[in-house]
Symmetry: C2
Subunit: 583 residues, 2 copies
């Protein structure tokens, strides 16, 4: 039982079980201490290995893979700060409920905390931001320890997937020499069980008939109800929630990440322009709900948040299959821990008769007026940020994925990306809403998400330029639309915009970067556009060109803020003109 | 007592005390929640604000400032993953003992763990990797709470500086609205104490006379002693340790980061080529020490480490003013917790008479032979990595700083950067030896470290390309020498180099990047050199050109490994020829 033989057998058992759990993708960052795990993984025909030098980007790349595939993605790095670079993506995975399996190689116990190179304290390295941490035993090849390696692997993947999904961290101490024996042809064979060591079947939270009946009866008491849907990755949910809306006669306020604004459903009950008309007092007076049913994360719209806070007298059901507490403003009167699709489906059989839908009609009418007013008011001459989002459903191919950056893009998407019948999967990193790692997450998501379109601002693009490398190394396809307003656009909408002193220095932060250089370095196709014709041409051309395409749209932060205010004013005028805000 | 007035007074008290502690530099990353702190800091004439969009690079930039200035540098960011991006630099600061004061803005308690945007659990965010964490109280303006803000500030700076220095983390909950009142002309005035709230005087660990006498007596028993100096930032130490060597007649094995290879000391006792001749069995037999006195971190040389492990019968004193346990191979027989300079100075008065220095003579003679053999063997026709380091003392200006990347550059520096009388401050990130953040650390260090020269490999350069941004935005001066061997050079020296299968994919990782693009984007001057004349011209021209200059030296990984082996063989031959390895 040599060192090498134990090292090889133990790691091979772990890797074989990894594949048995259904995991397919591993993102590896090169390093010395992780050598045995990387070399064994590279031998397994069932794993796709993606090598990425920058661990921060690597972790977001894995996050993207997991987001679009629904499977845990695996990360592997060496000891030291390499592992610390994973932290931002791990935090994002935790809050956005994305399954990750983080494997860090470590020095063995005798080389810890004694000044050995590249040795840092990796026990509980990510603190409360992983769902489970375990320090693995040193490699051994007794049958017990091979079972242990397989068992921990199966369990770790299951914990990562269990609702709410999230990251799990396993720390592997390895002693030198680090080279495994790859000559064994039966490397991944399992002595005891032919198929794999253990499989895990995950049940979902669901209410019993009594609970559903009670809630249905309570909802039956209210005509003035609204359904609010934030970010949601529950595939079965979209259809079910529209059926529930139909049964209750409630409008569905659909955040752009609810997956309810695009696709094949009827869209009959969808309200998608609330962010514009919930800014006006007289309108809000007419729309006061008696009951709110909320699914998913809090929607991005600040106007909607304010509206909900103004209506805290309403009953509010917050339905969460992940069992969390997604209620930043203490608005919920009832937390319901139940898979969202099962909740909708279960209620349907208990809802007696369709409510009158006058209240929903009011919402839907205002929604139409608002969209028509904004559409008519949009500048189709000068390049502007609002029209970019308005036109995405027309320009993007069926079945594509749209990833948006945080800060302004997600808000503009909310304001101007309206109901359409394209099948477009809309994604963003909304766990912690960072501007970091967005390029990498989108690129990772592109592996399983159809043609990928990423819309982001220049600061967000800058933050993760390193994320472009895999596009070059692995010839990945992605179209990036960089809205370059030379700095932080969102601050022009915040109170400090009034404080001229130090504003540009602290918040505007213009970078004055010509991104064509770096896009060329990564072998991408760079196009800078200043007008609509060139923009449309660039997108249509990108649709049919493989590889990395970056389209830079040059805009102006101050003009953009003014443009938004002009559109909201148009909505206000049109509502006033049509008397739609009156009872 | 309005919200704004309390917010302003509380933060101003903190910021005023920050300046009172002697802190001068703050690295700010733009964000919303940190608005009040950033705006108040920008008002203080005593603070230099450096704005950096990428928090990972920002934190390493601050690390560099602290390393070269000896003062704690302050970091400020908003809530969420922004703070997580600081983690790699914080870990490095912890292990390399660099004082940092990390300020993170946070949502107030009522917005935590309830799905509010950009809210993550920031309590103990960096776990065991900071020396002190405290959650600050919400802003209040009672006299007690202003005293509290000042007291925590003074204490935090003192904890960061206290040996071993390191990072401290304060988390600030701020409620909206976030705009402070900057119209108060007496913003930073202190009601109670004119000068500042509290100052901290730090004593150093020192031995009493009895302890020194005992150790001196023990050392007096051994003729065959060596002094080993690893990385050391104790300015007073260099002179004192050479005096101690003179008194004891022991050679000083000086790591390149010991600050003993450059500068104004005699250098009489310095051995700087041990990494070459401690590879040969017959040589090592002649150099066996009876006693070892070790200062600072473990030296980078693997040959020296092996030699010390082979001589674990020797008594080994490990002297550490930081009170750590820097002994990865359990070689110490005595840990001595005493400031290193005070230790040397204190011993001097108790050392009776100079030992015979035959043993030291042997070390010094072998050292000369080795350097002459390598020098004669160096290829001065073809570009190669060894000669780059050999020539640095000649090419760099007096008073400059040399920062080297981890992996190969630090090892090559060890092998080929020899004793010289230029005053060159040699730096590296040797806490956790990561390849991350090196560009930013060097650029930060350039603010207080004289003309900055950074030597690093292509993977390390790639990892922190974002770190180049401040060079453009603030017109900073730095010369970067990128040794581009298209991938991870160090792996060619490790056992996996023999395993052809998957080697390039997992370890070689060629990036095939033309860095001229990205250097142009950051407004730098890019020169690619293939021969010695152009290389020397490029360095000499860079010496007299302000701004960012990047000199790319194109080398080959396999040829480099062969070149190293050739030089070691030359050393071996020359030692054999001169019979220097014999008794």
């Amino acid at each position: 039982m040599s060192h090498q033989s134990a090292l090889t057998a133990y790691i091979a058992a772990f890797v074989a079980e990894l594949v048995h759990t259904g995991i397919k993708d591993v993102v590896v960052s090169p390093g010395s201490r992780s050598t045995p795990m990387a070399m064994v993984m590279a031998e397994h025909p069932g794993l796709n290995l993606h090598v990425h030098v920058d661990e921060r980007s690597a972790a977001f790349f894995a996050l993207g893979i997991a987001k679009s595939s629904g499977r845990p993605a695996v990360l592997l790095c060496t000891s030291g700060t390499a592992a610390a670079n994973y932290f931002p993506a791990i935090v994002e995975a935790r809050y956005s409920r994305v399954p990750l399996l983080v494997l860090t190689a470590d020095r063995p116990h005798e080389l810890r905390d004694v000044g050995a190179p590249q040795a840092i304290d990796q026990i509980d390295l990510y603190g409360k931001h992983v769902k489970w941490f375990t320090e693995m035993a040193l490699p051994e090849e007794s049958a017990d320890m091979l079972r242990y390696a397989r068992m921990v692997c199966g369990r770790a993947a299951a914990v990562a997937l269990q609702a709410p999904a999230g990251p799990v961290h396993l720390n592997f101490p390895f002693r030198e020499p680090l080279i495994p024996d790859l000559e064994n042809e039966r490397l991944f064979e399992l002595a005891e069980r032919a198929e794999g060591f253990v499989s895990v079947t995950q049940g979902q939270r669901s209410l019993d008939q009594e609970g559903l009946k009670r809630i249905a009866a309570e909802l039956g008491m209210y005509e003035k109800g609204i359904i609010v849907c934030g970010q949601m990755d529950n595939i079965a949910f979209s259809e079910k929630v529209e059926q529930l809306a139909e049964a209750l006669g409630y409008p569905v306020l659909a955040d752009p990440l609810s997956q309810l604004r695009s696709g094949s459903n009827s869209g009959k009950w969808i309200v998608d322009a609330y962010d514009s008309f919930l800014r006006f007092e007289d309108v809000k007076q007419q729309l006061k709900p008696e009951v709110v049913i909320r699914f998913g994360a809090m929607p991005v719209s600040k106007a909607l948040t304010v509206f909900l806070k103004e209506n805290r007298g309403a009953r509010q059901f917050v339905v969460d299959g992940g069992g969390g507490w997604l209620d930043p403003h203490a608005l919920s009167t009832e937390m319901v821990y139940c898979d969202e699709a099962l909740f909708c489906e279960g209620l349907l059989s208990f809802i007696k008769k369709k409510q009158t839908a006058n209240f929903a009609g009011k919402w839907l009418r205002l929604n139409s007026i608002a969209k028509e007013a904004m559409d008519a008011g949009m500048d189709r001459e000068e390049m502007n940020e609002s029209l970019i989002y308005r036109e995405l459903p027309e320009l993007l191919p069926e079945g594509s994925s749209l990833f948006v950056g945080n800060s302004m893009p997600i808000r503009d998407l909310d304001s101007f990306f309206w109901l359409n019948d394209k099948k477009i999967n809309v994604m963003a990193n909304r766990g912690a809403n960072g501007i970091d790692g967005v390029v990498s997450t989108a690129l990772g998501a592109s592996l399983y998400g159809g043609q990928m379109y990423l819309v982001l601002g220049d600061l967000t693009f800058f933050h993760d330029l390193n994320g472009l490398l895999p596009a070059k190394l692995y010839n990945l396809d992605m179209t990036v639309i960089v809205i370059n307003n030379n700095g932080g656009g969102i601050f022009s909408f915040l109170p400090q915009a009034g404080q001229a002193r130090n504003f540009e220095r602290l918040f505007g932060t213009p970078l004055d970067l010509d991104f064509s250089h770096v896009v060329n370095m990564y072998g991408g196709n760079f196009t800078r556009v200043h007008d609509w014709t060139s923009y449309r041409d660039a997108i249509l051309s990108a649709n049919n060109t493989p590889g990395l395409k970056v389209i830079e749209v040059v805009t102006d932060r101050a003009e953009n803020a003014a443009d938004h205010r002009r559109l909201w004013a148009a909505v206000s005028r049109e509502i006033a003109r049509l008397g739609a805000g009156e009872e």
